[in-house]
């Protein structure tokens, strides 16, 4: 009851702001800001804002069409919410909005053909460092990105680095699907690990005990876009290894730090990991974990979500943790999502308005709550969100965005870094050593392939 009253008050307040605002010459942007503040205030009081204020559409975009292409979210209700918000905004603005969702693996082919043919969706959702790859086909969106940056208390470094291409924002940071160590708390406790191992040596020690008991850790080193690089890159960085120097040109893989990392992975493979991992794709570890074959794997929160729905008893035994630290520190690589407006679009203004609408805190947090923290905001603002108080098992994801680095680190996430990623060179250095090639040779192979990639 109390909630409903507050809700009603809020709506009234909004109405009071709306009409004088527009008549009194308040710009839409100022208005959204005000509404955002009110909404933010309402949120801190624990109220979920479900309606967005009605405002008049800028005349230029009325009657136009807008097409957004994005991946099919692994949390389907989140896509439904985007569609709902799009319909709501479209109705208010008099814009016909189409939300198209396709498999994440097919996005790049669509983007490439759209840019080359100069026709296609107005807004494209980018992943990883794609804004770098397609910068020449994207509109500068500094104005929008800077507003969003302020709203969310800055951007996390990884998502900022991939969106900010040579001095301009080529995409607006949208959200981050955090990857965390998903592990079986009960089994860990059985071997005396009250907490998740803090460094790789402890990780190996606990893992060995668990593998001996028939509960190995699971990790893929196959050619799969999410889990394989999400482990291989930060693992390498944590030993101080890197593919290239800061200049983004000099290949630096061949180092004693890399050698240490590769030698250690061979030992881990034997002592700790499930040996079927070389063939896994992004869903295999989910299945292996849910069928109680493995005791730990690096993943988004999807394993836990499925368990909560289908195997509630198992869910109670799952917890999440950040990756162990290596000699050079603790790192993560997350899948980041960005909104880019394409140059060929003849509706850039509407596209900017729509992105701002989706990023408007009440809307974004509504969506964030529906996805239950599977995706986090592009900046630390969400860390204070009440959602994190709800489920302590999700806490590891709260500020995991801070640990993320972009591929190519410490160099900028250039096209070459992308090519190295798409050719799975770093992943394969580890895979080759695991398959029996000497670590030195595997690194030599990787360095020579990287030189080929970074030559231009």
């Amino acid at each position: 009851m109390g909630d409903i009253n507050i809700q009603a008050n809020y709506e009234q307040e909004v109405k009071e702001v709306t009409y004088p605002g527009i008549e009194g010459g308040l710009t839409r942007r100022q208005f959204i800001k005000t509404a955002g503040l009110i909404a933010g205030a309402a949120l801190t009081e624990g109220v979920l804002v479900t309606t967005t204020p009605k405002i008049a559409a800028p005349a230029i975009i009325k009657g136009t069409k807008l097409h957004l292409l994005q991946w099919s979210n692994f949390v389907p209700p989140a896509d439904d919410e985007i569609r709902r918000q799009a319909a709501e905004w479209g109705k208010q603005m008099g814009v016909e909005v189409t939300i198209e969702t396709i498999n994440a693996n097919d996005l790049q082919a669509r983007i490439a053909s759209a840019i080359e043919s100069g026709t296609g969706p107005d807004i494209v959702q980018m992943l990883h460092n794609w804004p770098y790859l397609y910068a020449s086909g994207c509109v500068d969106v500094d104005d929008v990105a800077e507003k969003v940056e302020k709203m969310y208390g800055g951007f996390y470094k990884q998502i900022r680095d991939v969106s900010f291409v040579e001095g301009r924002y080529k995409a607006v940071p949208y959200h981050i699907v955090g990857a965390a160590m998903t592990y079986r708390e009960d089994w860990f406790k059985e071997v005396g690990a009250e907490k998740f191992p803090d460094n790789w040596d402890e990780y190996r020690k606990v893992g060995k005990m668990l593998k001996d008991k028939g509960h190995p850790f699971g990790q893929t080193f196959g050619h799969t876009f999410g889990d394989a690089p999400a482990f291989a890159y930060p693992y390498l960085w944590s030993f101080g290894g890197k593919e290239v120097e800061e200049d983004g040109k000099t290949v630096a893989l061949d180092s004693k730090e890399t050698l240490q990392a590769v030698e250690f992975i061979v030992a881990l493979w034997k002592d700790v990991f499930d040996e079927t991992g070389l063939s896994w794709d992004d869903t295999s570890n989910n299945r292996a974990f849910l069928s109680e074959q493995i005791s730990c794997t690096l993943n988004g929160a999807s394993i836990y979500f499925v368990a909560k729905k289908q195997y509630p008893e198992l869910a109670k035994r799952i917890n999440h943790a950040v990756m162990p630290a290596g000699p050079a520190g603790r790192f993560h690589y997350h899948v980041t999502f960005e909104h880019a407006i394409m140059k060929y679009s003849n509706n850039v203004e509407a596209a900017k308005e729509f992105i701002l609408f989706l990023m408007d805190k009440p809307n974004f947090y509504k969506w964030f709550e529906i996805a239950e923290g599977y995706s986090v905001a592009p900046g630390p603002d969400h860390e204070n969100h009440p959602l994190w108080q709800k489920d302590p098992r999700m806490l590891a994801f709260k500020d995991i965005g801070k640990l993320g680095k972009a591929i190519g680190y410490p160099a900028p996430p250039t096209r070459s870094a992308s090519e190295a990623l798409s050719k799975y060179i770093i992943v394969d250095v580890f895979a080759r050593a695991i398959q029996g090639e000497s670590p030195k040779k595997a690194i030599e192979w990787g360095a020579s392939e990287l030189r080929n990639v970074y030559k231009s």
Partner: protein, 335 residues
């Protein structure tokens, strides 16, 4: 004897009368058509369509336009792209053979070349042997012959991506049905890592490609088998030939033209295969199953280097050209 000759003469006369009447009628129609043609010619102010050499080009034009638009243009564009440093969204500049030099330096590419030949060679031999065997079996008479023949085509009809997804599940590391059977029959202690071991992964993709291609071989060869006259086999039976002799001296030589065309067609398609590998392994583990097409896709689309991707796929060209030359040469020799 005489009346007979008479009647034959009569008949001949009758026939020639009939022929005459036909001829007259043709003569009668002839001028009419001519006249109509002249009238039309008058209207069109040209008689080009009347001339065979021009009409031929007109009739062939739609096919040529389609070939130029959908085959020749992309091909020429592909050749051009391979000589430039084109990336998505950027103008390409001519760089000569730089792309080719670069990819030849890459061990991933060299491994891909090797993979492609192994994949094509082994899969084609498997398809040929099993396809031929299946065709020979299906060529016999048995109950539900039509139903069996039709259902055999299923693997070939189902969209490749769908059937390959089913195979992906059967090769799954945790839930492989093959492993379940092997372990439960006591043949193995623990399951095989089908797609995780470089050699097994290659075996797996080859199995799927062969499974999919066998029906094409079988049905084409079956059609070929049915054109062989039964008289030949009867004659061979009379001469006391055994079944192997009949196969070797009748079936195989008579089937050769069909067999070669099917074989060459299959080699081309297998060499340029994409879907099976893309769905099952994406070229992994450690590039042990990459084919030209999957590597070209990865380089051109995932990292946006269209020029280099085009160069990779163009490496297929000399080999495919050779295959096509052999095919044309063979067809000519037959004629």
């Amino acid at each position: 004897m005489k009346p007979n000759v008479k009647s034959v003469e009569n008949q001949v006369e009758q026939v020639s009368d009939y022929a005459d009447s036909k001829l007259t009628s043709v003569e009668y129609v002839g001028p009419a058509v001519k006249e109509m043609g002249e009238k039309k010619r008058g209207k069109l102010k040209s008689g080009y369509l009347e001339r065979e050499n021009i009409l031929a080009y007109v009739l062939v034009a739609p096919a040529v336009i389609i070939l130029v638009l959908f085959i020749a243009y992309p091909f020429v564009l592909g050749v051009w792209l391979s000589l430039t440093d084109k990336t998505v969204g950027h103008e390409g500049h001519f760089v000569g053979l730089q792309n080719f030099r670069n990819i030849l330096k890459s061990q991933i590419f060299l491994q891909t070349v090797q993979n492609t030949f192994v994949y094509t060679g082994v899969a084609t031999v498997l398809k040929l042997v099993f396809g031929l065997a299946l065709a020979l079996v299906l060529n016999r008479h048995f109950k539900f012959k039509r139903l069996v023949r039709a259902s055999m085509l299923l693997p070939w009809i189902i969209p490749t991506v769908l059937s390959t997804l089913a195979w992906l599940w059967m090769f799954d590391a945790t839930f492989s049905v093959f492993n379940w059977i092997l372990v439960h029959l006591g043949i193995l202690k623990r399951g095989l890592v089908w797609l995780g071991d470089p050699h097994l992964a290659m075996v797996s993709v080859i199995i799927v490609n062969a499974w999919r291609g066998i029906p094409f071989f079988a049905i084409s060869l079956l059609a070929g088998l049915q054109t062989i006259s039964p008289d030949l086999y009867e004659a061979a039976d009379i001469d006391g030939a055994g079944s192997f002799a009949k196969f070797w001296h009748i079936t195989l030589p008579m089937l050769m033209p069909v067999l070669l065309v099917v074989l060459i067609f299959s080699v081309i398609v297998t060499f340029a295969d994409f879907q099976v590998v893309y769905v099952l392994t994406r070229g992994g583990p450690s590039n042990s199953t990459h084919l030209f097409a999957t590597l070209a896709y990865q380089v051109a689309l995932a990292s946006g280097r269209l020029g280099e991707g085009a160069a990779i796929s163009l490496f297929m060209f000399p080999f495919l050209l050779l295959v096509i030359i052999v095919q044309l040469w063979y067809i000519r020799r037959e004629q």
